[in-house]
Symmetry: C2
Subunit: 409 residues, 2 copies
């Protein structure tokens, strides 16, 4: 890989004009879009517009706001291969995961096992651990080292499995699981499957209806760029919606909400998975963020993500591996998401030096991983190239030790 290749890819990049919608500085190079996407002018304008709507319409705004979790959900659903009426934007990813996993377990009464991955994202494991402990179930955490994580996961599923809960793209390694195969495997054993799409939505093709997935959750602040702590989303397959009941019985999940009847009676359809009053300003941001991805064309966007990932991977192989780094992201492009991770014993001070010298903002994951997550709407191929070069340069120049500080994904 040389810089001319990257420049050529940028010249041929149909999405290049989208960078102008993001006010990004030249340096440091932002390679942390898989942790927190940057703001676009579209999202900034949507926030201003939403605040104005609040000013102008006051309480009457609710005439239209009230449907937003579903209308924004439908728009997002189109990116996720979900027909209308199956996606809601609401609550946090964690709360949504809790609601759906609880509903799945209740539906599968009699089965006593939840299957998940040992190295999955903490909030997923913690939510499942909590549900397992309070429902007297077993949480079976599967180690997935080696080239066949799907095989290891399939082996752990059996006729006692109530729920399989997996991340489509792994937060640490960027490894992508074969979602269709694993969904079929879960169904073969009579289990339900819940996909966490936090690192997938907006970065890799997702086909929830095509996979025949049961449930999914995810977040909108990474590759969808909707803002720090913007709402999560949830998906419930249409044919399951009236069979599942979630635990948080709130007034937004109630049929005839404004009749304020004595007893709770869940709305038909996806609406029963709502709980409390949705955040209207943040929903406006999500709507604009998803619309921007749509206007760029998801297929072009995923293709660019794959090419950027390839360039990062190849550059890292050439420049960082000789300096003692390991690439923990799969070599096979069909098994990768949209970020590349390298491990190194001095990953933290290395990452810190890159930030302190205003070269690259990358993402450290304890104990020894640096993630590089460009965004197809705003990153250039030369950014990927230059980021790896800067990493190599800093390693060659040397850097001091640094105390580990907390970071949020």
């Amino acid at each position: 890989v040389n810089r001319k290749d990257a420049e050529g890819l940028d010249r041929a990049d149909d999405l290049a004009p989208f960078r102008a919608r993001f006010e990004l500085a030249e340096r440091p190079i932002y390679m942390d879009g898989n942790s927190l996407g940057p703001p676009s002018s579209a999202v900034a304008a949507a926030l201003t517009r939403a605040a104005r709507e609040w000013q102008d319409d006051l309480v009457e705004g609710w005439e239209t706001w009230i449907d937003r979790p579903g209308t924004v959900g439908d728009r997002l659903g189109r990116l996720l291969g979900a027909a209308d009426g199956q996606v809601l934007v609401c609550d946090s990813t964690t709360v949504n995961l809790y609601k759906l996993a609880w509903a799945a377990i209740a539906h599968q009464a009699g089965r006593r096992v939840i299957v998940a991955e040992a190295g999955d994202f903490p909030t997923d494991r913690y939510v499942l651990q909590g549900l397992a402990e309070t429902h007297g179930l077993q949480l079976r955490l599967v180690e997935t080292r080696g080239d066949d994580p799907e095989g290891a996961l399939e082996k752990a599923m059996d006729s006692d499995t109530a729920l399989v809960c997996l991340s489509h793209v792994h937060f640490r390694t960027g490894r992508k699981l074969a979602a269709d195969r694993l969904t079929a495997a879960a169904h073969d054993r009579g289990a339900l499957i819940l996909w966490d799409l936090a690192h997938s939505a907006g970065s890799v093709p997702v086909d929830l209806d095509g996979w025949e997935a049961d449930l999914a959750v995810g977040c909108t602040y990474k590759h969808l760029n909707a803002g720090p702590g913007s709402p999560g989303f949830l998906y419930v397959r249409r044919s399951l919606q009236d069979d599942l009941r979630q635990p948080i019985w709130g007034w937004f999940g109630q049929d005839n909400q404004f009749e304020m009847e004595t007893a709770y009676r869940p709305r038909p359809g996806i609406g029963s998975f709502l709980a409390g009053t949705p955040g209207i300003l943040s929903l406006a941001a999500v709507d604009a963020a998803v619309a921007l991805v749509q206007s760029a064309g998801p297929i072009r966007l995923y293709a660019k993500a794959e090419r950027m990932t390839r360039l990062l991977f190849e550059s890292a192989r050439e420049r960082l591996v000789p300096l003692g780094a390991d690439i923990i992201t799969p070599k096979d492009p069909t098994r990768r998401g949209a970020h590349v991770s390298v491990s190194h014993p001095r990953a933290w001070p290395w990452c810190r030096a890159l930030i302190d010298r205003r070269l690259v903002v990358a993402d450290f994951r304890t104990p020894d991983v640096i993630r590089l997550g460009p965004g197809s709407l705003y990153s250039r191929f030369v950014d990927c190239y230059d980021a790896v070069e800067a990493m190599a340069q800093v390693m060659e120049d040397g850097f001091p030790d640094a105390a580990v500080r907390r970071r949020v994904t």
Copy 2:
């Protein structure tokens, strides 16, 4: 009551200058602050500032954002009579109610009854109904007609009561319960008590520590004016925090969050009641909204609310009762919150006509209630006077029937 009295009260009103912070039209008169508060310039500026912070700091913003649920919670806590470290701003009121009620029930294992009010706000009843059904408990819904609601509620509490869950100010009638007395009554029977402060926060004195309350939740989009669907809050008494465990085990509730350890181990203190990633833009709005209330001086604010409520009550008695309306808000000023409710068989078309003629935006509650909820930061005494006059005028002039449409509180 005549208009000159109202004008005199406005002239003497120290808070009058705060109206300029809200871009409110002269007509229609906004009397729905107990449903959705209007935006202030402070909140608008905070949203712009937060979006700028996202732009400038990107993922590094989390160095400070991460503590916001607690720091904004502490600031709000000062309005609620809560010492630092007991309040979080996070999730929705409904989700917070679920988390705290679940935690209380688990802590009170062996006791089989939840006591609540039959006419309480739907989401409260629904959440409790869901918890009762899934935990095999009895939800005892108490009718509280008459002058002694506290007596009726006390009678329903017994040694089998796990949790008492009540709204401090009633959403429909504006009736305020004697929180200290009922808290003591719950404790006498070994029950925990959870207060819903949705209609209290920012409008009437609240003294959680003084009441010796166990738990509380509430919302920030009514009298705190933080925006449509802005986050809820929760309070857990310090001495209970390490004994209670909430059901949604997320990574924000985990000790050493960024160690990403295998097993969930809740943070000490109030932090264990967090779940997923908090919404940073909406937290900025809440922070600014609470700061504005603080800068106005809560004591002056509550005093003005009481005087406005009195003026509304007296005007309604003189002008609306002769036209067939009933006032369902208590006559005793010490037993009222900050809104006044009248009932009338034609409440809906009456309310609709007031809006359609651009006179007053009030709040309809099915089947027959109109609520008048001024805001002490932005409403004038003449607004209260004119709103009731407009209601009388419309009733005298006559208005057509109208189909009921949904409204959100």
